[in-house]
């Protein structure tokens, strides 16, 4: 699994806030996503009604997930494909490696897939002498930089054009070092040329899947570049990686969700390529893979069924929640410390890697509720984060100082008389200390809080004192 650095969220976030390049990239990119989504939603009056439908389709599927998975797998096999059921990331990695080795693969092209990041299949292939080549433009540069994606649909969200140019110069050493990149288009053209030969040479192509369709045994990928299609069409073997919650019953169900996906993600009415793959090359076909495999991965999801986190399995990975999140907007994706950032990551990561490793994530939220209001399948993200906070507290994972202070607060809160006396004393003390300046630059015991802001000196008395005063005046 990708190393989890979520326990260091605070340090990660502090570093991100101080990173000028990252802040520039975030500032540029954020607004574009919000505006494009808003425009796409405005163009489709039925959008709100479709969100309810999307939620219901996913709920129906999850309530019958065993049935739909079995039906799906049976139909894949009828179409000449093979399904590899994998409980864990280890099993999934082994399955992928096995297929590649049987195919005698030396290089493997890859379409964008978050589950592939989750099971860290690239490292595993490399360790066994097989070279994985990421072909989505964003994933390609991330691989050159040996980083991880910072966003689930825009992996290079954290990079500026200068980074692209510098990395291409550094890595594409066979090209003229004095070439000029006048426009973004020149960067794109260079990547296209570089990757074309890799597409043609690859022995195996690995893609993810946005949906699996039980009715037909199809896997569906959605891209704008066409790299996923080249990946699954040209090599002799196609492997689709998919987690178990990707299945939907019919083409009609997938279609309704597709109406939501691109609009929520990039603000397009529909992505450029939405491709349905069903089995291997048919008699008479002039192209297409000779083998078609689906690696069907659980990796902790089945445990979420029937729990308070089941709703999270409706997620269609559109990224609207992180695009609209003020915390993500300030820190970027890497601070979250694992594969899935933003609000969806704050709920999913503790479910998949354990709350002990990800306890800070459900706290990385302002509870503004924007994520829930844009989620195309209406996942109650703030509520789910609240559930994690409760579990964290129950399991004594909250830091000792927080627990002690909360305990102290609770003692006072349950004793109104004592509470009033204590707050009156505190307000008085702060007033005395703050004097005429009107605010504190720093406070003992609250250095973390005052580092980024000033605390205003309380004006007048406590709320209860002023309330009593008002009452007396009447």
């Amino acid at each position: 699994m990708v190393q989890v650095t979520s326990p260091a969220f605070k340090q990660n976030a502090a570093r991100a806030l101080a990173d000028a390049g990252l802040q520039k990239a975030l500032g540029k990119a954020k607004g574009a996503f919000l505006q494009r989504r808003a425009e796409a939603v405005a163009r489709l009056p039925e959008f709100e009604a479709l969100r309810d439908i999307g939620r219901d389709i996913k709920n129906h599927t999850l309530a019958n997930l065993d049935f739909y998975l079995e039906t799906y797998a049976a139909n894949v096999e009828r179409a000449g494909g093979t399904v590899h059921w994998c409980s864990t990331a280890d099993e999934a990695r082994a399955a992928v490696l096995g297929i590649c080795q049987r195919a005698g693969a030396r290089t493997v092209t890859k379409g964008k897939s978050m589950i592939s990041e989750e099971i860290a299949v690239n490292d595993h292939l490399e360790k066994h002498g097989i070279e994985p080549v990421e072909t989505d433009l964003g994933e390609y540069i991330i691989q050159l930089r040996r980083e991880h994606p910072s966003h689930i649909i825009a992996p290079a969200f954290h990079l500026n054009r200068e980074d692209w140019e510098a990395d291409f110069r550094r890595m594409h050493t066979d090209l003229d070092p004095n070439r000029v990149f006048n426009e973004r288009r020149d960067i794109l053209a260079e990547a296209r040329t570089k990757l074309r030969s890799r597409f043609l040479a690859a022995d195996v192509g690995i893609t993810g899947a946005n949906f699996l369709i039980a009715e037909t045994g199809s896997s569906v990928i959605v891209t704008n570049e066409g790299n996923g299609d080249l990946t699954q069409t040209l090599p002799r073997v196609h492997i689709a990686l998919a987690s178990i919650e990707k299945v939907v019953p019919t083409l009609e169900d997938a279609t309704s969700l597709l109406r939501l996906l691109a609009r929520s993600a990039t603000g397009q009415d529909f992505s450029v390529y939405t491709t349905f793959s069903t089995g291997a090359r048919r008699p008479g076909d002039l192209d297409g893979p000779e083998e078609y495999h689906v690696v069907l991965i659980d990796n902790g999801r089945s445990n979420m069924i029937g729990s308070e986190f089941q709703d999270m399995l409706r997620c269609i990975r559109c990224a609207a929640c992180m695009n609209h999140c003020p915390v993500y907007g300030a820190t970027g994706g890497h601070a979250y410390g694992w594969v899935y950032p933003g609000p969806m990551g704050s709920v999913l990561t503790p479910s998949l890697v354990g709350i002990d490793k990800a306890a800070l994530l459900p706290n990385a939220s302002t509870f503004c509720g924007k994520c829930e209001s844009v989620c195309p399948v209406k996942i109650p993200l703030p509520n789910l984060m609240r559930h994690w906070r409760e579990r964290e507290f129950e399991r004594h994972l909250t830091p000792a100082t927080v627990r002690r202070n909360l305990g102290l607060w609770a003692w006072f809160a349950k004793r109104p008389q004592a509470y009033r006396i204590a707050t009156r004393l505190a307000v008085g003390a702060l007033k005395l200390l703050g004097g005429r300046k009107g605010s504190f630059r720093s406070l003992p015991l609250a250095g973390g809080w005052t580092e980024g802001r000033d605390l205003p000196v309380p004006e007048g008395g406590t709320f209860m004192a002023r309330y009593a005063q008002q009452q007396r005046k009447r």
């Binding site: 540029k28 996503f33 489709l44 009604a49 479709l50 309530a63 019958n64 997930l65 065993d66 998975l69 039906t71 049976a74 139909n75 009828r78 179409a79 000449g80 059921w85 433009l137 825009a154 992996p155 054009r161 692209w164 288009r185 794109l188 296209r192 597409f199 009715e215 037909t216 045994g217 704008n224 570049e225 066409g226 790299n227 299609d229 080249l230 069409t233 040209l234 019953p249 019919t250 083409l251 009609e252 397009q268 009415d269 529909f270 450029v272 390529y273 349905f276 793959s277 069903t278 089995g279 048919r282 008699p283 008479g284 076909d285 002039l286 192209d287 297409g288 089945s302 069924i305 029937g306």
Partner: protein, 285 residues
């Protein structure tokens, strides 16, 4: 086995065992009837407006459209387009009987081979199976007469499409695919296809179905859109008006042209006025 472990964990979560027979039957019924959900009103308009909506949406997504009134004009329309783009009059052609039947001899400067696409092909001409007005989307299923590589490898893709194949919503295109198999010439139906859909017990889903909306693009560099990522940089549609008042004839039992590769530098050119072949399938065999 992991399969049992996964299904077992799901059932434990759902607090039940395997579904009882009556509930399975209900779900099988849902698969067989594949009910439609809400279909946006934008495509529920009269025919001519549907076609106009399709064209508008293609152009919004940076594709281009040229309309012709007669199949005999298609080679000329392709020649004109390539000339206007400063492209050599050379292309790889989908080995589809409807395309083979066009009067190519009228445009002797056009050079083409009917086969799958290779990396060296600059232009491809594909046969359009159907299209969806709702978003200006082409439906391009794979089979022996419509290789998938034609949609991917060339920098310029031209798709020949008939107006009668433009539908309003995706759901209509799916039902057309269910009804027709993939194609009259090879189809899922009547060939030794291995696909069997449990819902209604007959095959229909081709190996690959691409829904294509405009030319390839990427916004990965600073979230700014640039055309021409890995797929075609240009997508041009030659749209043949075949009015509904003149219903298309049944497809001839043409042999699939899978042996084409080396054969055709020039496809045979049986000259006919209006090519009315191909896309309408015979009833299920």
């Amino acid at each position: 086995m992991s399969k049992d472990a996964i299904l077992g964990a799901i059932r434990r979560g759902l607090k039940r065992g395997p579904l009882p027979a009556d509930q399975r039957a209900m779900l099988d019924g849902r698969l067989a009837t594949h009910p439609r959900h809400l279909i946006p009103a934008r495509s529920r308009v009269p025919r001519p407006e549907q076609i106009a909506l399709f064209i508008r949406n293609v152009e919004k997504e940076f594709g281009t459209v040229a309309r012709v009134a007669d199949a005999a004009e298609i080679p000329g329309a392709i020649a004109d387009y390539l000339a206007a783009q400063n492209l050599a009059p050379r292309f790889v052609l989908a080995p589809h009987p409807e395309l083979a039947a066009l009067p190519w001899a009228d445009k002797p400067l056009l050079e083409f081979e009917a086969r799958r696409a290779e990396a060296t092909d600059a232009v491809s001409v594909q046969h359009g199976y159907a299209a969806i007005a709702e978003t200006g989307t082409l439906m391009l299923p794979s089979d022996a007469t419509r290789p998938t590589t034609l949609n991917l490898l060339a920098e310029t893709e031209v798709v020949v499409l008939r107006t009668s194949r433009i539908m309003g919503a995706y759901e209509e295109a799916w039902d057309t695919l269910r009804r027709e198999g993939t194609d009259a010439t090879t189809g899922g139906i009547g060939t030794p296809s291995t696909t069997r859909n449990v819902a209604d017990g007959r095959p229909f889903m081709p190996r690959n179905v691409m829904l294509v909306t405009g030319p390839s693009r990427s916004a990965d560099i600073e979230q700014t859109l640039e055309l021409g990522a890995h797929g075609p940089r240009r997508l041009h549609i030659v749209l043949l008006d075949d009015d509904a008042a003149d219903p298309p004839a049944q497809a001839p039992a043409a042999a699939p042209a899978q042996a084409a590769p080396a054969a055709a530098t020039k496809a045979p050119t049986p000259k006919r006025g209006k090519a009315r072949t191909g896309s309408t399938a015979p009833p299920e065999a």
